[in-house]
């Protein structure tokens, strides 16, 4: 593709578009072209063909994934807005609601990591404030290739990508003044050519202020606000809907450039209009993927109206832009407003006060047509429905991936790990970049601006308080792609279960999820299998945990030269804390507190398939992924939450990568003086554990989903045990020992156990990532 080379004077004629099949370069198939011809009853001209191509791209219309998305549970008693708008909304009481959504920016970040990640933040923020909400928190879920030469094709490139993606997020998020409070960063060679950059934004809104992206009422004005339109990001949506091959490095013209300062002004101006001038605002929508055409067509579609836009009035930053370029540009920091006729000047005045343009570029019509005028001529005239509701929908074939048979045959028993020195394995796990502290990364994010952040990055979930109430919100992102690679359906269940465990460990009730479904090419039946089965697993878990899917995004074609990433459906979950008194962290608080292992009825099982310890000791992953008992996990979570609310729990930490041993260590590491937990014990630097587990050594590293390391003040031990038993007979609380003050991690087992000084283990854990990246 060479977007920038499109001639402004001699566009191909409709016949030439047909004969040269230029649309193939826009990822539009012959069949889709014919479908467009049929809908118009004539040949589309160059501009119209471009509009069809982009509106029917996977990125805009989800033509391959819609049938799967329809299987998600999306409703619930608290859900005020499910999928279909800029973001989903959940009632949190007190007249307030939480608004959230996640979005991927994988392809742009692979090519231009700084701007790709930065504009990923900018884009998701606009989705949130377009609903009328103030963005209050950002989380990032990142996946990169490995950081050691032994496991990477180009380790320097991987380090560069980490550095630049983090810098991009930091640059945009810090400047706009929305705290980056959490997320996750993992490393695996499958992400080397195609890193994943998923950004989740959480906003707060008074229920009365909820907006919709509708262009209703014939005669009302369509106003363009924010930055000018340039040639950046043209065909970004179709760019995101293709797999990478050699040479995509040259597609930089499809990557947008962000201006967080402009966006900051845009947030304030839009919220000013929404809060103080709502009577003259009919609808508001972000210009995201596929820019002007997508936002305007969707607004008309949702209202069942038509639009007449005069493109000469679109603010342009470059000369001689064609209708095609203007409609498809993905220039950042732009919004589209539908304003009651006659009130345009009021809107203009508000935006001028924030130093921004607001220009009327068209009007709502009642003919259902999407009509564009440029230089006195009609350059496009298409039924709105043809671009939106009538986009193609594919039920693509799926077949079980060939890999699964081989993977299931792999021995994933405890013996296969060949662990001879558990203390050494333990330290190696703490140093592995996926387990190691991510402080090196989140240290560069302003996590406290807006002064609501109670729990900063580094615990199971981040927590922000909700002003003017006693409540708080917990939020997390989670997905272990390895599990889904081994078994998509069980892996899908685990992703949601893990997210729920994170939320519960912080003292909150899970409310709902958003997702970013990152997969390879849907034309590959094996990828469709992964997508379908993992979606089924996610759906099942969402039903059990009563967390409907309220928003999300699908990112397909995450492949480099036909090598797909692990199927990675990132789950972003938000939970509600009824009272800030319930806020709980993973850090142990006091020497002498009892340490419990809270599990399902089966306790810790030999679950090593896809585990961090398997990757570490055998160099690869495989085996049969054990199915999870969602009801038992939910029961365990209920037991924990009840005990937290009753005040019996000092700390709680979900057992995940690295197993119980790592969970115990991370709890003992607590927070150092720099991270400002607020519940910090001055002795945190020297805490240790004295525990005994009736297990063989390898089981210390098993990743049994739905298990927790919980500490309980010595005086509340009986109450805690009684509470767990009364709440969930399925849950098992096993007393392991106590928090010690001798600074030793002393873990006895039926084998050698682990004995390491807390500070030396912490040093390994804390410094590993910085060492690998420098």
């Amino acid at each position: 593709m060479s977007e920038t080379a499109v001639k402004t004077t001699a566009e191909p004629t409709a016949e030439e578009v047909r004969d040269t099949k230029i649309y193939l370069g826009w990822s539009m198939t012959d069949a889709e072209y014919e479908r467009a011809v049929g809908m118009l009853g004539r040949l589309p001209n160059y501009t119209e063909a471009g509009l069809f191509a982009v509106m029917w791209s996977e990125h805009c219309c989800y033509k391959s994934s819609t049938p799967i998305l329809k299987s998600f549970p999306t409703t619930g008693p608290r859900v005020l807005q499910g999928p279909g708008e800029g973001a989903g909304i959940v009632d949190i009481g007190n007249g307030k609601a939480v608004v959230f959504k996640a979005e991927s920016h994988n392809h742009p970040s692979a090519v231009e990591p700084f701007e790709g990640a930065a504009t990923g933040v900018g884009g998701i923020l606009r989705d949130i404030f377009s609903m009328g909400a103030r963005p209050v928190a950002v989380l990032d879920s990142l996946r990169f290739g490995e950081l050691t030469a032994a496991h990477a094709k180009d380790v320097d490139r991987n380090k560069f990508l980490v550095d630049q993606v983090v810098a991009g997020i930091s640059s945009y998020g810090n400047c706009i003044g929305v705290p980056t409070v959490g997320g996750e960063t993992e490393f695996d060679s499958c992400y080397e050519g195609n890193p994943l950059v998923n950004v989740m934004c959480v906003g707060l809104i008074d229920v009365k202020d909820i907006q919709k992206g509708r262009a209703a009422g014939a005669g009302n004005s369509i106003m363009y606000v924010g930055a000018t339109t340039g040639r950046d990001g043209i065909h970004g949506a179709t760019f995101a809907s293709e797999e990478f091959g050699e040479g995509n490095e040259t597609q930089r013209s499809a990557v947008q450039v962000g201006d967080p300062f402009m966006e900051k002004q845009l947030v304030e101006a839009c919220l000013d209009v929404i809060h103080n001038h709502n009577d003259i605002l009919v609808g508001i929508q972000d210009m995201g993927a596929a820019g002007l055409v997508s936002s305007s067509a969707e607004m008309a579609s949702k209202a069942g109206t038509g639009l007449y836009l005069k493109l000469d009035d679109v603010p342009q930053r470059e000369t001689n832009m064609t209708p095609y370029e203007m409609m498809l540009s993905e220039s950042q920091e732009r919004m589209l407003l539908c304003v009651r006729a006659g009130h345009e000047d009021e809107i203009k005045k508000i935006f001028t006060a924030y130093g921004l343009d607001a220009v009327t570029i068209g009007r709502v019509t009642d003919d259902g047509q999407y009509t564009l005028e440029h230089k006195g001529a009609v350059v496009a005239d298409i039924p709105v429905r043809a671009l939106t509701d009538d986009a193609p929908e594919y039920h693509l074939p799926d077949s079980e991936p060939a890999r699964l048979k081989g993977l299931r045959a792999v021995d994933a028993s405890a013996a296969s790990l060949k662990i001879t020195n558990p203390s050494e394995t333990f330290l190696d796990l703490l140093a592995s970049p996926t387990v190691a502290s991510k402080e090196h990364i989140w240290h560069t994010y302003d996590s406290q601006v807006l002064t609501n952040t109670v729990i900063r990055p580094g615990s199971d979930a981040a927590v922000i308080r909700v002003r003017d109430t006693d409540t708080a919100l917990a939020m997390t992102t989670d997905c272990n792609g390895r599990y889904i690679y081994l078994d998509p359906e069980i892996g899908g269940k685990i992703a949601v279960a893990e997210a729920a465990s994170n939320i519960v460990a912080s003292g909150a009730t899970p409310l709902a999820i958003t997702d970013c479904l990152n997969y390879g090419s849907p034309e590959n039946p094996e990828v469709m299998y992964d997508l379908k089965r993992s979606a089924a697993g996610i759906s099942a878990a969402c039903r059990t945990f009563e967390t409907p899917v309220i928003s999300g995004n699908v990112s397909l074609y995450n492949e480099t030269s036909h090598e797909a990433v692990y199927p990675t459906p990132m789950i972003g979950m938000v939970g509600l804390l009824e009272h800030t008194d319930h806020i709980t962290t993973q850090a142990f608080k006091n020497p002498g507190d009892a340490i419990y292992l809270l599990t399902g009825p089966q306790g810790i099982r030999p679950d090593f398939a896809g585990s961090e310890v398997q990757k570490l000791t055998t160099g690869s992953i495989g085996g049969v992924l054990a199915d999870v008992d969602l009801d038992a996990i939910a029961a365990t979570q209920r037991a924990l939450l009840t005990a937290i609310r009753a005040g019996f729990v000092a700390s709680a930490h979900d057992v995940s990568e690295g197993g119980v041993a790592v969970a115990l260590a991370e709890s003992a590491f607590g927070f150092d003086s720099a991270s400002g937990d607020g519940r910090e014990n001055p002795q945190a630097e020297v805490l240790g554990v004295d525990v005994t587990l009736d297990l063989d050594d390898p089981l210390l590293f098993a990743e049994t989903v739905g298990s927790f390391v919980v500490s309980v003040p010595a005086g509340k031990v009986e109450q805690f045990e009684a509470s767990v038993a009364a709440t969930s007979p399925e849950a098992a609380a096993t007393l392991l020992g106590h928090v010690s003050d001798d600074g030793m991690l002393n873990i006895l087992t039926n084998g050698d156990g682990i004995r390491v000084a807390t500070m030396s283990a912490k040093k390994v854990w804390k410094e590993s990532l910085a060492c690998l990246l420098n």
């Binding site: 400047c175 300062f261 406290q448 601006v449 807006l450 002064t451």
Partner: protein
């Protein structure tokens, strides 16, 4: 009548709401936002300049904001001996405007740093620090990429001689490479103070520290006197 506080809002300020929340909702004062293009500060008893990225911090932190119309009024206000406080970007703006000596350069790490820093009260004889004990250790959040305070050797001697160093990072806890561990300074007259740490982020124990409360209490006290 309790004193009135002005919180200046530049395009790109992003700690303005935090500062207003701290002084108004937590400290219980009269406070309101004043836009960057305002030309009148009469009726206000103190001026607070928030953190953020004024004008995107394009060109150089605070370099554009110093030319905002309101800055003429802030200068006049300071010249009258009334208290002016700037945190983070506010500190950078006050330095760029020449109301405080020195400049703030990129952190030695070349990275943005967000953490709760250990701060030492270097001088509790200012109108902003009187409620602190001498040498009291505070936990105050910092969040900046350009916080490395720099002055010439002679200026540094003058700062010391005039007791203008209000806050220092505790030994071994300097997050940005500031000269002499300086975290906050006053002007010679003592009525203008700038600091990189955010006292307004430390006014509620729920959020991790309330070590910033005595800062605002000191300022309020000085207005009553």
């Amino acid at each position: 009548m309790s004193p009135r506080f002005a919180v200046i809002v530049f395009p790109g300020s992003n700690c303005d709401k935090d500062l207003l929340w701290g002084i108004k909702n937590i400290a219980g004062m009269n406070a309101e936002f004043v836009r960057h293009d305002a030309t009148d500060l009469s009726g206000f008893d103190a001026v607070l300049i928030p953190g953020g990225f004024s004008y995107g911090d394009y060109l150089r932190c605070g370099a554009i904001a110093r030319f905002s119309p309101v800055m003429n009024e802030v200068r006049r206000f300071a010249d009258e001996g009334k208290p002016v406080f700037g945190t983070c970007n506010g500190f950078q703006i006050l330095c760029e405007a020449g109301l405080l000596p020195g400049a703030l350069l990129r952190n030695t790490s070349l990275r943005f740093v967000c953490e709760t820093a250990q701060i030492e009260v270097a001088n509790n004889a200012t109108r902003f620090t009187s409620k602190y004990d001498p040498d009291q250790l505070l936990r105050l959040p910092v969040a900046h990429a350009e916080g490395r305070y720099t002055v010439t050797a002679e200026e540094l001697e003058q700062l010391k001689a005039n007791n203008q160093i209000a806050f220092r990072y505790a030994k071994g806890h300097n997050p940005n490479g500031s000269v002499d561990d300086i975290a906050g300074v006053t002007n010679k007259a003592g009525n203008v103070l700038g600091m990189m740490p955010h006292p307004e982020r430390a006014v509620e124990t729920l959020l991790g520290s309330d070590d910033g409360l005595p800062f605002f209490a000191s300022l309020i006290d000085s207005l009553a006197a």
